[in-house]
């Protein structure tokens, strides 16, 4: 089945590019629905306590206002919090907006204004006055760390923190070289450019919900169960998602509130949450970590101890793989990891790109750099001296591991050999130059839940590929088109991929870097099945005798086939269930990142002038979209290293940032040269199509590489993120 050369593995332009550059891609708030009402939230100004009263008289009288919903008059819903569980939530009680009078975090929605136009809803919201009974809140992790605890229940689907091996305490004490340091990382917010929004099209039989989510299926199930829409047909549509980075993994406040209002009023409702509210939707947990490394004089690791305390909310035990890679990245016989949480009066943390790993690896990789300087060897040589071909924590081989090639090719490309080892030894004019590097790792896995894909032959000879998963900018439309085109031997113009609709075959969640491997394998399997069906049908109808499929797959022949067989389409469905090679192999995506910073010596302004990111991620389906993934994640890494800090005013228990002026994300002028190299890596075990996934890996090693480069430039060890100008200047004073 040829029809031209294979396109999988080629840089074909993003399939959804043209509709996006024309402004024709529709996002959640952009569906034109008849008789639409607009909603706006009123949010709590205290961090903990009770709502005593809500005076909404002025708001109700405001021209255009239709209703004001609060915990007192909202539609009835279940009092059992377990019914609010979603596919991605951690153990605990999920937040239920407008449930009762409790205020659990600052910014929590306490009332919803519904009006016949957007301006009226927004302006009336400002007229609501709420009185509270305030309770003492706890929002400072540095204080609450004293009450840190081991999460009693483990998060579903998350690999547990590895058990200790050897005797790390004793080995550390006995080590000839020791480094031990504490690192802190700030809370960060995801801030996709699209605001969280939902448009609910209400009717008695079917409720269509246009929502910003990474999982239309999860939202559909949630609405049916938690908001008691089980008697109606619920369809959740998210054809295009303007970024999410993890914040759309769970049903968000926007969809819950919009559907509550629609249900109460039996009307169609739109809710767009404003930018300042994105600080109250979820955050990357801030953390305090200590890393202790013991080594011999040649840099061979004798002990790794890594401790972390991460923030969580009062009601949920949010967990992520913060320390999971510290036991398997390097060869070391004595490892001890301690992962704990501390409760704060905040919204629950929510997975953000490379959750856990971006935080844990920052500490480990900075500590490795400190060790390199303690022994006086090159930081890259230290990594190579501790290279491991086995995952020691589980004592098993990797399904593939081309990290060594990442190190070597990245170093070559960057010109690492020209680096002078001593801090403050490189400069140009009034700028200090620093070169640093770090290793990245993320688990390569398939979706823990099964994924279904349907492929149909249409009457016009095109093939339609459908599954409920979304494309959040990752390139899913494009890679699935490529896989299907090759599997069917059809040109890509004859393949139509439909995604982001809960009415399509079940596919759990876009996330975890597993979508390409999981959905791609399902597409491959469904196409293979369909091809067999077509051949069989062709034989039955006597179109071909010899079973040659090449000419059979021309549009004319396929149309004939459908006509002769008396049906208007032919389809096949495949379900991919997580291939469990279980305990036999460890599987991970790796990267090595090399960073150059230039720092104005007087002003302490840091510029990240060059990044070289080398990535080993198995088979690359589309180098162009893959490169964009890594560049985008690296840009986010620059933000983590230098800018992003969702700092709290602990007097008020409230995030001090309310907009992009207070919370700086990298802008165009902050980003210079980023080069991406994918090293050759073949893996026939990780997934049926040899793909490992790319969503997270690009974010893991960037921040430590930059922090290490800053040390190299200045001689100042920066152990707290973000490394802002004030922190740098304070140190040099």
């Amino acid at each position: 089945m040829d029809q031209g050369p294979a396109i999988t593995g080629k840089s074909i332009p993003r399939i959804d590019g043209p509709v996006k550059v024309r402004g024709q891609a529709k996002y959640a708030a952009e569906y034109d629905v008849a008789d639409l009402l607009h909603a706006a939230i009123v949010s709590a100004s205290i961090a903990k306590g009770r709502v005593i009263s809500i005076d909404a008289a002025a708001a109700k009288n405001f021209p255009g206002v239709v209703a004001v919903l609060t915990h007192k008059n909202r539609p009835w819903f279940w009092p059992f919090s377990f019914l609010y569980k979603d596919l991605a939530g951690p153990p605990g009680k999920p937040f239920r907006p407008l449930y009762d009078d409790r205020v659990l975090f600052s910014g929590q929605p306490v009332a919803l204004i519904v009006a016949d136009n957007y301006e009226a809803a927004r302006d009336a919201a400002a007229l609501v006055s709420v009185s509270y009974e305030r309770e003492q809140h706890a929002t400072d992790l540095a204080v609450e760390v004293s009450k840190a605890y081991k999460p009693p229940r483990h998060r579903l689907g998350l690999a547990p923190t590895p058990h200790p091996t050897g005797d790390a305490d004793r080995a550390f004490l006995a080590s000839p070289v020791k480094v031990e340091a504490s690192y802190t990382t700030a809370a960060e917010n995801h801030h996709p450019m699209e605001l969280f929004a939902t448009t609910v099209e209400w009717s008695d039989k079917i409720v269509t919900v246009y929502d910003k989510t990474q999982s239309p299926k999860s939202v559909e199930i949630f609405l049916k169960v938690a908001l008691r829409l089980f008697r109606r047909k619920v369809r959740v549509v998210s054809s295009f998602v303007g970024g999410a980075f993890g914040l759309g993994l769970r049903p968000q406040q926007s969809v819950i509130l919009a559907v509550l209002a629609a249900k109460a009023l039996k009307r169609s409702v739109r809710l767009v949450l404003p930018r300042d509210h994105m600080f109250a939707l979820g955050y990357r947990a801030n953390a305090i970590q200590t890393v202790s490394l013991g080594a011999d004089e040649n840099g061979r690791l004798l002990a790794i101890k890594h401790q972390a305390v991460a923030a969580t909310s009062q009601s949920e035990d949010a967990q992520d793989p913060m320390l999971n890679f510290s036991a398997s990245l390097y060869r070391c016989d004595n490892v001890k990891l301690t992962y704990q949480l501390a409760k704060l009066d905040t919204v629950s943390p929510c997975d953000m790109r490379a959750p856990g790993a971006a935080t844990g690896m920052f500490a480990l990789e900075c500590a490795m750099d400190e060790l390199a300087y303690a022994i006086n060897i090159d930081p890259l040589a230290l990594r190579l001296a501790n290279y491991t071909e086995r995952d020691q924590s589980e004592n098993r081989p990797f399904s593939s591991k081309a990290l060594r090639e990442c190190y070597l090719q990245g170093a070559e490309r960057f010109g690492w050999a020209k680096r002078s080892h001593a801090p403050r030894s490189m400069r140009k004019g009034k700028e200090l130059i620093g070169w640093g590097m770090a290793t990245g790792v993320w688990e390569a896995a398939m979706s823990p839940a099964p994924a279904r894909v349907k492929v149909s032959l249409l009457a016009d000879g095109r093939f339609e590929v459908t599954t409920s998963i979304t494309d959040i900018g990752t390139g899913t439309y494009t890679i699935l088109t490529q896989i299907a085109a090759d599997a069917l031997g059809a040109p890509r113009e004859r393949v139509v991929v439909k995604l982001g609709d809960s009415a399509l075959p079940f596919n759990p969640i876009q996330g975890g870097s597993w979508t390409a491997a999981t959905s791609g394998s399902a597409v491959q399997a469904a196409c293979d099945k369909l091809k067999k069906k077509i051949l069989l049908r062709a034989k039955q109808t006597g179109i071909v005798g010899n079973g040659q499929a090449t000419e059979l797959l021309s549009p004319a022949a396929l149309a004939d086939l459908l006509k002769l067989s008396g049906s208007d389409n032919l389809s096949a469905t495949a379900t991919i269930i997580n291939v469990k090679f279980g305990k036999k192999y460890a599987s991970a995506t790796h990267s090595a990142v090399f960073a150059e910073v230039r720092i104005d010596e007087e002003l302490a302004v840091v510029r990240v002038t060059r990044l070289v990111c080398t990535v080993a991620a198995g088979r690359i389906l589309n180098p162009a979209t893959a490169r964009s993934q890594i560049i985008g994640a690296s840009v986010m890494g620059i933000g983590k290293a230098l800018y992003e800090d969702a700092a709290t005013d602990h007097n008020l228990g409230r995030c001090m940032a309310h907009n992009f002026a207070d919370y700086h994300i990298p802008s165009n002028a902050d980003v210079y040269d980023i080069e991406v190299l994918f090293v050759e890596e073949t893996d026939d075990k990780v997934s049926p199509i040899g793909v490992k996934g790319l969503g997270e890996i690009g974010s893991v090693a960037v921040a430590p590489a930059i922090a290490n480069a800053i040390f190299h430039a200045t001689g100042q060890r920066m152990r707290d993120l973000p490394i802002t100008i004030d922190r740098l200047t304070r140190l040099s004073d």
Partner: protein
């Protein structure tokens, strides 16, 4: 706060070459007018505070954050939104360059980036990559597609003018 009287005003705008009229309150921004009343949703809302550039349109040829513009204050203006750039059959050279350089991922900031880049090119000031970066920094992209964005704009600036830029 005083309850607002019903004070709808008439406004006439030429949007993508078509005259459109509306009767709206003075507090309605151009962005909300485009998105909510005219169903021109190619112009995006990312912050509503003039900080992200997702809402960039061209008013009389100049790039402007439409979330900061009260629609009634621009009565009689010529407005170009992303829907008015390129034709049904042919992409504008910048749109085409954005696709080829993969200057987008989720696509949400993209219409604003393209409108802003058209304004930038007609301003005629930015020539080098550094100047483009600086002058495009009012348009945030959380997907981090900046390198592709600069590549695309640089290419169009360097190309002999194929078409008059709107």
């Amino acid at each position: 706060m005083e309850v607002r009287a019903n004070t709808a005003l008439h406004v006439t705008l030429t949007i993508n070459g078509v005259e459109r009229k509306a009767s709206i309150e003075p507090c309605v921004t151009l962005l909300d007018l485009l998105r909510e009343k005219f169903d021109l949703t190619g112009t995006k809302k990312g912050c509503d505070h003039g900080q992200c550039g997702a809402c960039t349109v061209l008013i009389n040829g100049k790039r402007i954050n439409s979330c900061l513009v009260l629609a009634v204050s621009r009565d009689g203006s010529e407005i170009t939104t992303i829907e008015g750039i390129g034709t049904a059959n042919e992409l504008h050279p910048l749109q085409d360059a954005f696709v080829r350089h993969d200057a987008l991922q989720c696509g949400y900031c993209t219409p604003g980036q393209i409108c802003s880049a058209i304004g930038l090119i007609s301003e005629g000031k930015a020539k080098t990559r550094d100047e483009i970066r600086e002058a495009m920094s009012g348009n945030l992209c959380r997907c981090g597609a900046y390198i592709g964005i600069v590549d695309a704009i640089e290419e169009v600036i360097a190309a002999p003018r194929r078409k008059t830029v709107r």
